[in-house]
Symmetry: C2
Subunit: 227 residues, 2 copies
Amino acid sequence: MSLQAILFDAYGTLFDVYAISAEAERQFPGQGTTLANLWRDKQIEYTRLRTLSGTYQPFDQVTRDALQFACSKLGLTLDQSVQERLMAQYNQLTPFPENLSVLHELKREGMALAILSNGNPDMLDPVVKAAGMEGVFTHVISAHRVKKFKTAPEVYQLGLDLLGVAVYNSLFVSSNGWDICGAAWFGYRTFWVNRAAAPREVLGVSPDGEGRSLHDLLQFVRQREEH
Amino acid sequence: MSLQAILFDAYGTLFDVYAISAEAERQFPGQGTTLANLWRDKQIEYTRLRTLSGTYQPFDQVTRDALQFACSKLGLTLDQSVQERLMAQYNQLTPFPENLSVLHELKREGMALAILSNGNPDMLDPVVKAAGMEGVFTHVISAHRVKKFKTAPEVYQLGLDLLGVAVYNSLFVSSNGWDICGAAWFGYRTFWVNRAAAPREVLGVSPDGEGRSLHDLLQFVRQREEH
């Protein structure tokens, strides 16, 4: 293949979501990790239920709803100021340490780079800006355009439509195993940034490449180009 | 409303899935509950991913895949005989203790009763038979007919099409909060058998009735009929 474009998932792939559990721990000592995990699971669950049932709400609303459920489930009182403080973390997530340098390297290799995320623009724009990544991406693409969340094919299609590239010239990169499966089912080449060393999903598809950080992605891309 | 038909979810609603974690505990002492919970979560996740991406596989296959993932994740070795033993539990689940008598009462009230489940017929038929429920239901309806899983609207539509009832004359009953939301979004009246005393999902819809067992459902139906 001749690789022309690389599309990145945002949360957990480019941006480290650790700050969220750290803030959760500050607000609810001893329960931060439990709350953050349940919140994240519920957030993803709600994106899927709303997409399946055709009842889309923007990702920030879904994220608030998931936070409320997670607190109810754990018996934690969530007042308005705590909710705002936790939600505000999403606007100032830091990129993983290797990301900016690798992204610049990939650009020098001639790749078009884009974000393809479930986040709505109101969530994505501040975090891209805060991370100093504004000039890096040709497109910051939100699932909000089609009012469905990944893994709906319409979301993955957005990447091709907006970048104007063919699927076989495109690589999709995510830290989420399920996102990799969705993209592979859709037809993308895929690279799984398996930061958590998780087992592969048993869904009948495999990533084309796998590594632990964006350094491994850079190596994968360079090896592909040599052939 | 004039209630004419009641549709039931199967696993966890009519049939007690406790036997699965009990068998998991026999196979993997000390990890039975963890395995059973992870297995169940993954099973549901895979139904959603496959429905979103249009890569349907029957529920028994999805269930096997989820079991393999769950064992990998927990570092448990799953040999073929253990896999078969765990899967076999699905064919011999017992109904919750109150179920048969309540179902018979509801029939005497003139209700048409049906199952509407993600399970494929090869999974549903044996468990309905083993539970002595063969004569109770006019229809045992599987999502397999439309090759999508709940909460896809096509699955909920099946219930109306096959029973020949209007949605406003129908009640959907499930122990799963998300299933209740999917059915309510679709348009059903809903009754949540909240056996686990879970908090409500934060999805903008509420069940019409809620209780802890099918006894509470019977009371709900009788109260509605009096009005």
